[in-house]
């Protein structure tokens, strides 16, 4: 008998009835986790150490219910045996870094809520609802596995909330960039001529910045 076998049996009984085990595992989180780990086991993949700890905790929760069909389960759970040795879990810290050109890069273990919040951070609700606003939509860089979010006046506060809510570790450069963004709200852009070259320093005006690059064919500094 292995932990994987007992856990698969638990998952099977729960799939037949949500109220199995007297409703001890009826919460959405339990059902989601058990279904996800069971799918992983059925695919022949090993558990991580963190997953195996949670699996054992779940089995101990329903120990008395399992004891009817499995004699000596109490002893077994004291010294559990796995068919495949659990591998070392990798903990990816949630980090945000300044990538230059008003872009922040978000990296971390993704979950649905985080992904949704990052996608929503592109602009205000009115903007993101409408199509054709690609330049403002957060992009996922598949090579480096990071979300790239361009910060502007429309999403500055959303980005700040995102960092605080999901506890992203921000370094000094990010803090400085966000502070500059806050200070630059409604600041005046400036333009001057130096050695036959026109230098435009745009502040808080996305349209003017785009005009310079896409319409006048200027070069970004």
């Amino acid at each position: 008998m292995y932990v994987e076998d007992i856990f698969t049996e638990v998952a099977l009984r729960l799939s037949n009835s949500r109220r199995a085990f007297n409703g001890k595992l009826a919460s959405d989180w339990h059902l989601g986790f058990i279904a996800s780990v069971n799918a992983q086991l059925l695919a022949g993949r090993a558990l991580s150490i963190a997953q195996s700890e949670i699996v054992l905790r779940i089995l101990r929760t329903v120990e008395t219910d399992l004891a009817k069909d499995h004699e000596g389960i109490n002893q077994f759970l004291l010294s559990p045996q796995f068919r495949q040795t659990p591998y070392q879990s990798v903990r990816t810290p949630r980090e945000v870094r300044f990538m230059g050109d008003s872009v922040l890069g978000f990296r971390g273990r993704a979950d649905q809520l985080l992904t949704k919040d990052i996608k929503d951070s592109g602009g205000n609700d009115e903007l993101t609802l409408q199509s054709g606003y690609l330049w403002m939509r957060p992009q996922f860089d598949w090579t480096h596995k990071i979300w790239l979010v361009r910060v502007n006046r429309f999403n500055l506060h959303k980005v700040k909330r995102l960092i605080a809510k999901h506890r992203f570790q921000a370094d000094a450069a990010v803090e400085q960039f966000l502070q500059e963004c806050t200070d630059e709200l409604d600041a005046a852009s400036a333009c001057e001529v130096q050695d036959d070259v026109l230098i435009l320093r745009v502040k808080d005006n996305e349209l003017l910045a785009h005009w310079m690059l896409d319409n006048v064919q200027g070069l970004s500094l």
């Binding site: 852009s189 001057e192 036959d196």
Partner: protein, 219 residues
């Protein structure tokens, strides 16, 4: 939020910045004001009998030249701007080749003949071929968008011609296109003006960013 960029300091860019300053929080150095006063169109460049000088014509032609003939002009906003003025602006731009896509080919041919254009061709929208584009893309293209959005050429054609003006002749008031429909095709890389104007500002304040010449207050 802050982005620095550079471009060559030309009188045309200086003048465009002066126009933009009316609608943007933008500080310009005195040198830019000096630069903007150079190389302007002057009244002598207008032919008194064929395309007589008016203040409106001078301003719109100056605007088109400064935008390197990539702009939007609607005659309902500028009644003086007829096909002859458009061709005259193209001629002043010093590109020898001038092409027009229009359903009213006769009108444009007549205007071109009066201006003695050296290399002129007019083509109906459904007769534009790849070969024609290859032959004419180095010159100026004027697209007469008429009053029917269905005959508006594809974005691909607009991308083929770096110097391309969308011109809508005088039409009934309810047939005047929203300039944002045209600008989105002319500048696909720019933020969608419909979206931006819904949250940022009055749509007319944004038109200059998209080279849309729709302002009576330009004069």
């Amino acid at each position: 939020m802050s982005r620095d960029s550079v471009t060559l300091a030309t009188p045309a860019t200086a003048r465009r910045l002066l126009w933009l300053q009316r609608h943007a929080n933008l500080t310009l150095s005195p040198t830019i004001h000096d630069l903007a006063s150079q190389q302007r169109v002057n009244p002598e460049q207008f032919e008194p009998l064929i395309c007589p000088h008016t203040r409106e014509r001078e301003t719109v032609v100056q605007f088109l030249l400064d935008c390197e003939m990539r702009a939007i002009v609607q005659a309902n906003h500028h009644p003086d701007i007829d096909p002859t003025t458009m061709l005259h602006a193209a001629n002043l731009f010093q590109k020898k080749m001038v092409s027009v896509v229009s359903t009213t080919t006769g009108l444009w041919r007549h205007a071109a003949r009066s201006l003695f254009l050296e290399d002129f061709d007019v083509c109906a929208p459904n007769a534009v071929t790849g070969e024609w584009i290859d032959k004419r893309r180095d010159g100026v293209l004027i697209i007469d968008v008429g009053s029917d959005l269905r005959v508006l050429p594809s974005g691909a054609l607009l991308r083929e011609f770096p110097h391309c003006v969308l011109y809508q002749p005088m039409v009934a008031a309810d047939q005047v296109f929203d300039w944002r429909v045209l600008s989105f095709r002319l500048f696909p890389m720019m933020p969608n003006p419909f979206v931006f104007s819904s949250v940022k500002a009055d749509a007319k304040d944004l038109a200059l960013y998209y080279n849309a010449c729709i302002f009576p207050d330009l004069f």
